[in-house]
């Protein structure tokens, strides 16, 4: 690991200025991903600006009935928050299915959103990877790709986004508040992470020096009936092969409204717009659930090792929708 400078920021504007003016400076949150990358030699920042002491550590109700989550709120605290547990159970469940207790105690809301793929070729210095080293090629396409994307990937990159929390936020339609050198802006969660295209080294639409300060959850009554289901290779402490965050409002056997997002399948948390469109206004039946899943998967392009994700996504969607429908 290369020696680096460390500063603990107590003012957000100053923190942003410090990082913005040095191309090789980074914000440090919980460090659960960045510090690993520094140890592996994937990144060698000259300056770390620790933003965990900034006043972004609260979860507050918003006047419109929504909730504002400070970017420095730890994953454990967010999962335990009463507002979140009551109004957005899908988010609490997603958080608790991620990582381990120790990691959740450190990991922050903002950091969780910008964590990077766990693709083994990205995390290994000597294997070609367009995300780590643009133009070097993708080792996963011809290599080990069991964990990789089936939706929205490109010839340049088939990596997946590893977060559980972000999948729930995507289903909830959260907005991300960002502070940059030019001031504040708001990014819809669906526009924060990117699909890889020809530029897989760009995970997000954030510019260098932009700092996530908060995540706003909209007032969303149907989220009270929501669930997160994560399929993984062991009972705990594993990234999702496939996950689904679903909130649904069913009245008299008809789906009035629904939100569906998928994890483990794409370069970003995948909002299942096609499935939602098919479900909205349709009878809440097994056949409809299956048709909705199939519609979302119509353009799935499995790789050599991950064809199983297609039936796994379909079955997971159907199974969670069925369960939520039963609870109505």
């Amino acid at each position: 690991m290369k020696p680096f400078e460390y500063v603990r920021a107590d003012d957000a504007t100053q923190a942003v200025a410090m990082v913005a003016e040095r191309p090789n400076a980074r914000f440090l949150g919980g460090g659960t991903n960045l510090v690993d990358h520094m140890k592996l030699g994937l990144v060698e920042p000259e300056l770390l600006v620790d933003v965990t002491a900034l006043p972004f550590n609260r979860v507050e109700p918003l006047p419109d009935g929504g909730v504002r989550i400070g970017a420095a709120v730890r994953n454990s605290d967010l999962a335990a928050n009463p507002l979140v547990r009551q109004n957005y159970p899908v988010l609490a469940a997603a958080l608790l299915s991620g990582a381990s207790g120790q990691l959740r105690n450190l990991a922050t809301t903002g950091g969780n959103l910008v964590q990077r793929t766990r693709c083994p070729y990205f995390q290994t210095l000597y294997t070609p990877c367009n995300k780590r080293e643009p133009g070097s090629g993708c080792s996963a396409i011809t290599g080990h790709n069991r964990e990789h994307a089936i939706l929205g990937a490109s010839q340049a990159c088939v990596a997946t986004h590893p977060s559980d929390m972000a999948v729930a936020l995507t289903a909830l339609g959260a907005t991300v508040r960002v502070l940059g050198p030019a001031g504040e802006r708001v990014v819809p969660i669906g526009e924060l992470n990117r699909l890889p295209g020809d530029e897989p080294h760009q995970d997000t639409t954030l510019n260098h020096g932009e700092l996530i300060t908060a995540v706003d959850l909209p007032a969303l009554p149907l989220a009270k009936r929501s669930a997160y289901y994560k399929v993984r290779d062991r009972a705990s402490y594993a990234f999702a092969q496939v996950s689904a965050a679903i909130a649904v409002d069913i009245h008299s056997g008809v789906v009035r409204d629904v939100r569906v997002a998928l994890g483990g399948v794409a370069h970003k948390p995948w909002r299942a717009h096609r499935a939602e469109a098919l479900l909205r206004g349709a009878p809440a039946t097994e056949d409809v659930f299956r048709a909705a899943a199939d519609a979302e998967l119509a353009e799935a392009k499995p790789l050599s090792d991950n064809g199983f994700k297609v039936p796994m996504v379909r079955n997971t969607l159907v199974s969670v929708l069925r369960r939520l429908a039963r609870e109505h």
Binding site: T127, G143, S236, F308, M312
Partner: protein, 693 residues
């Protein structure tokens, strides 16, 4: 009597409070730190290595390369011949090392070293149709590669029931919680604190490699944080720590492997492809058993594991064939990993037995009982004590096997499975490989005894169990015994291997205690001392001394997602007498957890292009978590084996691993109707099956 009492682990408190020193933690003056640099190709030559930037970094004391490292003895074992040439024989091989004033500087400097290679084509993937398969002279325990009795072709052709299936297992990693680590000080003599399963064997190997007299090498390993076979040999990191100390004027040098490095430098359980053919009559009697094993070994050093040898005596059959074929790949050599050979072999044969039971329509326990042999078919000798049928029956009772029906609870399909298993006792290897084990007993005064042996406690509880054996052998209370181990200044003892430690070191202690009483009586003077040894088991010419057990598993499979859980796991063991029920149970359920992990999780993702294992961390290489282990229990019959030793104890460690993968696979099959013949049993393999629509 101390034997039989569930004494708490004597070093437990020191370990959980962090005061038990491990190899990296011993306090030494002014240490330097070594960080290893590994090859990023699997085969070829280092053509250039630029160390200028690393050497220029303040705090760097030395950079070792094949140009600068001292020469080792020409007959040094291949595994230790680090930095003796620029040849690359496996991915992740050590090609350089940096020695610096802090581990951080060493690691930083390591990243500044630039290496260029002349890469040659490599092959790292085992496959059954590999053109270079060959028949080894022997398998690693010294048994013939092949065996044949009767006419298996004719018997299979005429069998009313026949199974012919291929089972595969992938490479696995020992992954002890303590990384491999060394602290070496080579001033005049050489002192090494090492994470080692056997200080005396380690000394001999190190002496051979360094060309330095063994009696001038002190090796100390009071605590070892898990080994599972991976700390049985001296490794490049230990050799290089010694060389680095010599190169830096005798300063202490510490090295600890990173977890990622361990995936390339500490060996692995070899992958296997096994074809099993069974023929049986309508009564379930085996008319033929064929077990053909194909497995990987390294191109630069042969190690061919014994995968099919238990098929030579597990069941009775008039027609039998077992074979081993190996292929040399550009990988680090495989090496024994907890229950070597038996772990993979039993997965194949005990799955096949379950498939046969289904084909015949017979209860799988009954099928095994009908094929219980009256003697060891491999040697013709009687068994010293074989109570497998009792294990199966007792287990069936405790597990609630009778009337087993598959059932559905919500989304989960639930079934049960069983496997039978054996673990051989390698007494015969004492004379050809392990060597004798010695112990000493000394009266230190006031009725207190110091018992010493150069044994190793790799976390098993050997220290505690051996103290209990010593107390009984001396007829004194346990509190009057102090035990020393893990130091080559103590009487020579074999390494911890084959689950034989407690048995063999215990026999040496019993012999020493007997000699002590013969020489010094029951009222000895302070300082009175005697030694004893265990040199082999005379009964092995007349009886076969093996351990046996039965494993029962309940599996739950999610009907939609294919997720697998194992809510219940029970092992019933025929392991002779048990010295310490607490540590023995811990060993057995620990082994069963390893078996569960093998069944559901552990698998090296080998990338043929890269030539390496690419899931080389604990996020990628999965091991069972606490949440995967639910109701797990181990019980035993408590039948002392009079032929095994004075205590009546048999191997009781690795047993737990064996058969678990088959029991789980059989339970998954019972639950779903889907037979998984390729480990591990992961959701992807089940979700694509018909049962999950």
């Amino acid at each position: 009597m101390s034997i039989g009492i569930p004494v708490e682990r004597m070093d437990g408190r020191a370990k959980v409070t962090g005061t038990a020193p491990y190899a990296y933690e011993h306090q030494v003056a002014d240490p330097l730190y070594l960080h290893l640099i590994q090859s990023t190709i699997a085969r070829g030559q280092v053509t250039a290595i630029d160390v200028a930037a690393a050497e220029a970094l303040p705090g760097v004391a030395a950079v070792l390369t094949h140009h600068t490292a001292p020469r080792l003895a020409p007959d040094a074992p291949a595994e230790f011949r680090a930095l003796q040439s620029g040849e690359i024989v496996h991915h992740g091989q050590v090609i350089a090392g940096v020695v610096a004033e802090s581990p951080h500087i060493a690691r930083h400097a390591a990243g500044l070293v630039r290496v260029t290679y002349d890469a040659r084509p490599h092959d790292v993937r085992l496959r059954a149709d590999h053109p270079d398969l060959y028949t080894p002279d022997m398998v690693a325990i010294g048994a013939p590669a092949d065996s044949a009795t009767g006419d298996t072709h004719a018997a299979l052709a005429s069998a009313p029931f026949r199974i012919d299936q291929t089972y595969t297992t992938s490479a696995m990693f020992h992954s002890p919680i303590e990384p491999h680590a060394t602290t070496a000080i080579w001033a005049d003599d050489l002192t090494v604190y090492e994470a080692s399963q056997g200080v005396h064997d380690f000394t001999a190997l190190l002496a051979q490699a360094l060309g330095f007299p063994a009696d001038r090498i002190r090796v100390i390993a009071p605590h070892v944080g898990g080994a599972f076979g991976s700390k049985g040999l001296a490794r490049p990191h230990a050799v290089l720590a010694a060389l680095a100390s010599r190169m830096t004027g005798g300063r202490a040098v510490k090295v600890a492997l990173t977890r990622r490095q361990m995936f390339a430098l500490t060996n692995h359980r070899p992958a296997t492809v096994q074809r099993v053919q069974l023929g049986a009559d309508a009564d379930g009697r085996l008319t033929a058993l064929v077990h053909d094993a194909i497995l990987s070994t390294a191109r630069y050093e042969e190690y061919v594991e014994w995968v099919a040898t238990s098929s030579r005596n597990m069941y009775a059959t008039p027609n039998r064939r077992t074979t081993h074929r190996a292929v040399r790949l550009d990988v680090q050599m495989p090496a024994p990993m907890r229950a070597p050979g038996e772990a993979q072999g039993h997965f194949a044969t005990e799955s096949a037995m379950d498939e046969l039971a289904t084909a015949i329509g017979m209860d799988p326990i009954e099928l095994r009982i009908r094929n219980e042999p009256s003697a060891d078919a491999d040697t013709g000798l009687p068994w010293s004590s074989r109570n497998l049928v009792e294990c199966l029956r007792l287990g069936a009772q405790r597990f609630g096997w009778a009337g087993r029906g598959r059932r559905r609870e919500g989304d989960w399909l639930i079934g049960t499975g069983v496997a039978a298993a054996t673990l051989p006792t390698w007494f015969k290897l004492i004379s050809v490989a392990y060597g004798p084990s010695h112990a000493a007993v000394e009266h230190v005064g006031n009725g207190r005894y110091l018992v010493s042996t150069g044994a190793s406690d790799a976390g098993t509880g050997a220290r505690t169990a051996l103290s209990q054996i010593a107390a009984d052998a001396l007829s004194v209370p346990l509190s009057d015994v102090d035990l020393e181990l893990g130091d080559n200044a103590l009487p020579r003892a074999m390494l911890a291997a084959g689950s034989m430690g407690t048995m063999v070191w215990g026999s040496a202690i019993v012999a020493a205690a007997g000699e002590f009483r013969r020489l010094h009586g029951t009222d000895p003077r302070p300082g009175a001392r005697a030694e004893g040894a265990m040199t082999g088991n005379p009964h092995t010419e007349r009886v076969t001394i093996d351990s046996f057990h039965a494993v029962f598993a309940e599996a739950a499979v999610h009907a939609e997602t294919g997720e697998i859980r194992v809510p219940r796991l029970l092992g019933v063991f025929d392991i002779g007498r048990v010295v310490n029920p607490r540590t023995a149970r811990s060993q057995l359920i620990g082994g069963m957890t390893m078996g569960l992990s093998m069944a559901l999780h552990e698998s090296a993702a080998v990338d043929q292009h890269v030539g390496a294992v690419v899931n080389n961390d604990f996020a990628g290489y999965h091991i069972a978590t606490h949440a995967d282990v639910a109701d797990i229990d181990a019980v035993w019959l408590d039948k002392p084996d009079p032929y095994a030793n004075e205590m009546g104890i048999r191997p009781a460690g690795e047993n737990g691993v064996i058969g678990v993968a088959a029991a789980v696979a059989n339970a998954v099959n019972h639950a779903t109707g889907v037979r998984i013949r390729d480990l591990p049993i992961t959701p992807d393999k089940l979700v694509v099956s018909r049962f999950a629509r």
